[in-house]
Symmetry: C2
Subunit: 339 residues, 2 copies
C-alpha cells in the first residue's frame, strides 16, 4: 500500500530466514481485513509502501535452526500477531502482548498478502492444520487467524453466556463472527445492530434473533424495547467509532459488560461516565487469536461453526487492489485471496 | 450545604414516614465523605441548600406499614444508596442500580448528617447490627455504609487475588480501605501511590508493601521498577481525576484490570486506547455496598479488619462545617460525626 486507495502488486525479494526461530511460509490463502481499510482510507503517500496482510494459511517452506515443532511441508495457519508461546503473557493467554512478539503487515514483519511470508517465532505463532482438512474448510480455517478469533474475543470480553441477552454492534465480518461466537457461547437473545440486508440475512443464519437497523438514540430505544427496558447483559462492539462505543455503553444494562474489538477511533473513551454509574465492565482489545485456536479449531473441523461464510468474494493476488476497493465500497463483506 | 465552602447546621422538620416502606432512623453516627468535598469545592449558591450525608448508623424510631424485617429499636447501618433488595439488579448484587432505588443526600432522599433521616425501602436498605457491637467497633461498622465497601469494590473490580500485584492510586480514606481490601483478598504486593506521610503510615499498617510518592511519568516508572517492568495485575483507582485514570491505565500490565471507584471527573475516559491495546478490563462505579455487607461485616465484628481507623477526627453535629474544612484542607483523612 503506497497511500490511500493506492494498492499495488510489486515484485519483491523472496522472504528468507532472518532469525533462528523463523519459518518461511508459502501462502496459499490470505485475506483482506477490515482494519486494512483504515490505511486504505487515510494513509499518506509513501515511496517505499507498506506490505499489507496479516491473515494467512500456507505451507512451510523453510525453518530456522531453533524451530522445533514446525516442519517443512506443514500446512499452517498464521495468526495476525506473532508470539513465542512461552513468555509470561503467552502463558497467561495473551499472545498479542508477547514480550518477543509483534504484528504482521505493520512494519515489524512483512505482510501476508503475498506469495510468501517470513514468520518470526514460528513455534509459538503457527498452528499446524490437519493435512486432510480439504478446500471446503479453508475459508473457515482462515478466519481463525483473525476475524473469527476477534469475534470470539468480543463475546468473551462481553461475558456472553447461557441465557444472557447480547447485542452485536456492526454487521461487518467481525460483527458476523461475533454473532457466531455469541450463539456458540449460549446467548439466548442476540441483537444485531446493522443495516445491510445481505449481512443481516447471514447474521440471522448465524444465530441473530433480532435486528436493529436504526442508529443512535433510536437504536438505543429499540434495544431497550427488546430487553424489558433494561438493555443487554453483553455488548460486542465491533466497529470502533465513538458513536458506536457510545451506543454500546448506552444499550448495556447495569452491571453488564462491553467487549470492544473495533480499534477505537479516539484516544479517550466516550460515555465512560455513564459506564461508571452503571458499573459496566469495558474490556477487549487485539484478540489473542493464537490462544483461542485450541477452543475454536475443533468446531471448525467438525463443521459446527462456519465463519468462512463471511468471505463473499475470492480474488487472485493480482486482483487484491480491486478487493480493497470492493470491501471499501461495501460491495464485499470480506475478500479471500487465493494463490 | 448552601454553596461552595458554605455548610450550615439548620433546624428542619423532623423526618417522618412518607411511603409505606420507609423507616425513620435516629442517627447516632454519620460521616463526611470524600465525594461531599466535590460540592464543597464547586457548588453554586443555593437558597434552599442541599441536605448532605449518606453514611450513617442509628436506631430505628419508626417504620411504615409495609416494613417487615426492620423493627423499631433496631441498631442499623444505612448504606449510601437505598434499594429494595428484591428487584432484578438487587438480586444480581447491584443494589446501586435498584429499579426503585436512589441515593441519600442528593435530592432524592434527605441527608444523614442530621439527627434523623428517612430511609426509603427500609427492608432492603438497612442492615441490622448486633446490639452488643460496642462503641469501639462503631467507626469500622460505619465504614461499611460507604468507604470500606467502596475500597472493596475497587479491589473486586480490579480482580485482586492471591499472588497478584496491586496498586492503589490515592491515599484518601477510600484508597486506604482499598489497601485493606487488597490485603484481605490476598494480594502479594500492594503499592500505594500517595504522598501524605500519616496516610502512608496507616496504609503500611493496613498491608501496603511499597509506596510510590511520585506522580505522572515518574510514578509509572517507579511502579514498573517494582514489578519486573510489566506493571501490576490490579489497579485500584480511588481518585477520579483524568491524570490518575491515565496513571491507572499506564501502570496496569497487559491483560490486567483497573477498578475505578473515584467518581470520574470527565465524561470520557483518558488513555482508553492504550487500555485497548493492552487488553485491560476497566470496571467499577458506585459500590454496591449493601451487597458487600454480608462478606465484610463478620471481618469487622471479629476485628480482622479495622477500616474505622481511617476516621482521624470526631466532631459533633455543630462542628460539621469545620469537619468539611478540615477534610478539604487535608487536615483530616475522614471525619466522624457523633450525635
Amino acid at each position: 500500500m503506497f497511500g490511500a486507495e493506492d494498492v499495488r502488486i510489486e515484485n519483491v525479494a523472496d522472504p528468507r530466514i532472518l532469525e533462528p526461530g523463523d519459518a518461511v511460509v508459502a501462502v496459499t490463502r490470505a485475506s483482506i481485513c477490515g482494519s486494512d481499510l483504515w490505511p486504505y482510507k487515510t494513509m499518506g503517500p509513501s515511496e517505499t509502501g507498506r506490505r499489507m496482510g496479516h491473515e494467512a494459511i500456507g505451507v512451510v517452506e523453510a525453518v530456522g535452526p531453533d524451530v522445533g515443532t514446525i516442519r517443512v511441508g506443514d500446512l499452517v495457519a498464521m495468526p495476525f500477531a506473532y508470539s513465542d508461546g512461552t513468555c509470561v503473557f503467552c502463558r497467561e493467554g495473551l499472545p498479542t502482548s508477547c514480550v518477543r512478539g509483534g504484528f504482521f503487515g505493520n512494519g515489524a514483519a512483512d505482510g501476508a498478502q503475498a506469495e510468501g511470508v517470513r514468520v518470526p517465532q514460528a513455534d509459538g505463532t503457527l498452528v499446524v492444520l490437519p493435512r486432510d482438512a480439504g478446500d471446503r474448510l479453508m475459508p473457515s480455517l482462515l478466519t481463525l487467524t483473525d476475524v473469527m478469533g476477534t469475534g470470539h474475543h468480543a463475546a468473551v470480553s462481553a461475558e456472553v453466556g447461557p441465557g444472557k441477552a447480547a447485542a452485536v454492534i456492526g454487521d461487518g465480518a467481525v460483527g458476523l463472527c461475533g454473532v457466531i461466537a455469541a450463539h456458540r457461547l449460549g446467548a439466548e437473545q442476540i441483537i444485531l445492530l446493522g443495516r445491510h440486508p445481505d449481512r443481516i440475512a447471514l447474521a440471522q443464519e448465524f444465530g441473530a434473533t433480532d435486528v436493529v437497523r436504526e442508529r443512535g438514540d433510536e437504536a438505543v430505544e429499540h434495544v431497550r424495547e427488546l430487553t424489558d427496558g433494561f438493555g443487554v447483559h453483553s455488548v460486542l462492539e465491533c466497529v470502533g467509532l465513538d458513536a458506536s462505543m457510545e451506543t454500546a455503553v448506552t444499550i448495556a444494562r447495569p452491571g453488564g459488560a462491553v467487549g470492544r474489538v473495533g480499534v477505537p477511533q479516539s484516544e479517550g473513551m466516550p460515555a465512560s461516565l455513564p459506564a461508571f454509574y452503571h458499573n459496566l465492565r469495558v474490556s477487549g482489545g487485539p484478540a489473542p487469536v493464537r490462544a483461542y485456536v485450541d477452543e475454536l479449531l475443533p468446531d471448525v473441523l467438525e463443521g459446527i461453526i462456519e465463519p468462512g461464510r463471511v468471505f463473499d468474494r475470492v480474488v487472485g493476488l493480482n486482483e487484491v487492489p480491486d478487493g480493497y476497493r470492493a470491501m471499501n465500497d461495501r460491495e464485499a463483506i470480506k475478500v479471500l485471496v487465493e494463490l
